[in-house]
């Protein structure tokens, strides 16, 4: 099952995107903690991308629902003034603690000089107990 969401790059749409993530996870029988973690991780990814978005950019979030995990690839055309994502920031650390296999890729820009930034992550259906 795959689902792609393409929206105006605005913080106003993030609540809807994280609700979609939670809905997919709930229907895929994720446990409650994993649903929450995915919702937070998706929120964090979208907020980071919206912050660096070029004017009038479209935020694209592609979810793939597999038997035991959900994968997300989120992409945006970055503003020319945006530097690389702050992967040492509080938000990035939170993201890494919530999701599995977080990575970021910088692609040549289709529109404008800011390039295209893509964050991918995966989240398993069963929460790993905290150590």
């Amino acid at each position: 099952m795959s689902l792609e969401l393409r929206t105006t790059a605005s913080a106003l749409v993030i609540p809807t995107i994280r609700s979609v993530a939670a809905d997919l996870a709930a229907r895929a029988d994720f446990d409650l903690d994993s649903i929450d973690d995915l919702r937070m991780a998706v929120d964090d990814v979208c907020a980071m991308l919206v912050r660096i978005a070029a004017r009038d950019a479209t935020l694209s979030c592609s979810f793939i629902v597999r038997a035991d995990r959900i994968e997300l690839a989120a992409e945006i055309d970055a503003d020319a003034s945006a530097g690389p994502l702050p992967t040492k920031s509080f938000g990035w650390r939170v993201l890494e603690s919530l999701a599995d296999d977080v990575s970021v890729a910088y692609l040549p820009g289709v529109h404008g000089e800011g390039g295209r930034v893509c964050i991918t992550l995966a989240k398993g259906a069963v929460a790993v107990p905290q150590t």
Binding site: I14, R18, D36, D37, M40, V50, G91, Q130
Partner: protein, 122 residues
């Protein structure tokens, strides 16, 4: 009560109750994310400037993302620097999970409920 909203937005409510001259209870309701966290930050900074004990009641929180966690973390650090007490009441499953999954829980002081948070004052 202050109601942070716009035409198309998620919604957070903040309420503050005074308890004696040096304690404040801040009740957070709704969703704390990138849109609403700045309002919470300004609110907590203001309370910590005037009160010695600030209790943050998160029981009515429906979403707590990294922007909100960061605000709580910074307010906690501000409290430490200024010799104030910041205490969380957090029986919301969602807020609890946010603090646990990110391993931020150990940085905070907690009480089971608001009365305990006020009487426990050191």
């Amino acid at each position: 009560m202050r109601h942070v909203s716009s035409d198309f937005a998620d919604i957070m409510d903040l309420q503050v109750t005074e308890h004696g001259s040096d304690a404040r209870i801040v009740t957070v309701l709704g969703e704390v994310d990138a849109l609403t966290a700045p309002e919470l930050a300004a609110f907590l900074t203001a309370q910590l400037a005037t009160a010695r004990v600030v209790v943050v009641d998160l029981d009515g929180v429906d979403f707590l993302g990294s922007a909100g966690l960061s605000v709580l973390f910074e307010a906690n650090q501000q409290a430490g620097r200024q010799d104030r007490v910041l205490r969380l009441v957090c029986n919301s499953r969602i807020a609890n999970r946010a603090l646990e999954a990110t391993e931020l829980k150990e940085h905070f002081s907690f009480a089971d409920n608001v009365p305990d948070a006020l009487t426990d004052s050191p």
